[in-house]
Symmetry: C2
Subunit: 144 residues, 2 copies
Amino acid sequence: MTAAQFNASALDCRVRAAGLRPTRQRIALAELLFKAGDRHVSAEELHEEALSAGVRVSLATVYNTLHQFTEAGMLRILPVEGSKTYFDTNTSDHHHFFLEGENRLMDIPEGPVSVTNLPAPPEDMEISHVDILVRLRPKSNRVR
Amino acid sequence: MTAAQFNASALDCRVRAAGLRPTRQRIALAELLFKAGDRHVSAEELHEEALSAGVRVSLATVYNTLHQFTEAGMLRILPVEGSKTYFDTNTSDHHHFFLEGENRLMDIPEGPVSVTNLPAPPEDMEISHVDILVRLRPKSNRVR
DNA sequence: ATTTGTGCAAATCGTTTGCATCTGA
DNA sequence: TCAGATGCAAACGATTTGCACAAAT
């Protein structure tokens, strides 16, 4: 079995495990999303990438798929300002730098970042996930 | 001098200090925004509130004003998913709970929340602000 | 008098929806 | 066979823009 075949069937399983039919479009999108390590993508970007890769898929299906994968826990929506929704292929605990000028996100390199002194959440609520966004701006040389 | 007069002129100064002309609309919006302590508002909400308060102002002006105040550091844009932009009248260091079901934000009560082990930002960049978003979901009673 | 701000309506952008058609189990 | 998925185009909601008019310095 070749590596390509292995990966293809792994993606097939992943899609099935999410309770979704492994259609041509979903497998192809999963491939684009999960073959290349951690990624931050918008629907529009993924759509263009699919078309470039010769995958025929409509923008509406890209939106559907991204949300279905998100519900299945395969993606996470990034908390950023701005009109577009960005999806993160890394759903494990990690955080982000946000470059203010460019409106771009970078993963914070692996490390034991932790939050201390978090107050208890209100009754009947539990913490689902903690997002830390470190906003960066160009270092100004002149003294203010 | 009455309290109302004092506050009105204080707002006037604040708007001037931001390099903006103290117009009727801007003063009125500043009043709505800053008289009532910490608030999270969207443009639409502030517009409705202004109309209810008898302030004649267009939605476009509300958008303009919110962005001008933000550039002047009087407001901060909240990092939340979702289509609407929310502005926070509290620009000091504090963080938020995000209620997943309702897509609603709450301030995290005052306290020494802190992040440890933050890696150094890339060269030529400095930290502008750290946003911590604690996502909450209803506590499930049944064991999964 | 000149600059800056405002209001309106139209335009734009990202996203969702309705529905006819197609596809995988 | 037939529930579920797709594609298209139209609908939508939030935001921005262009431009004539009004207000502040």
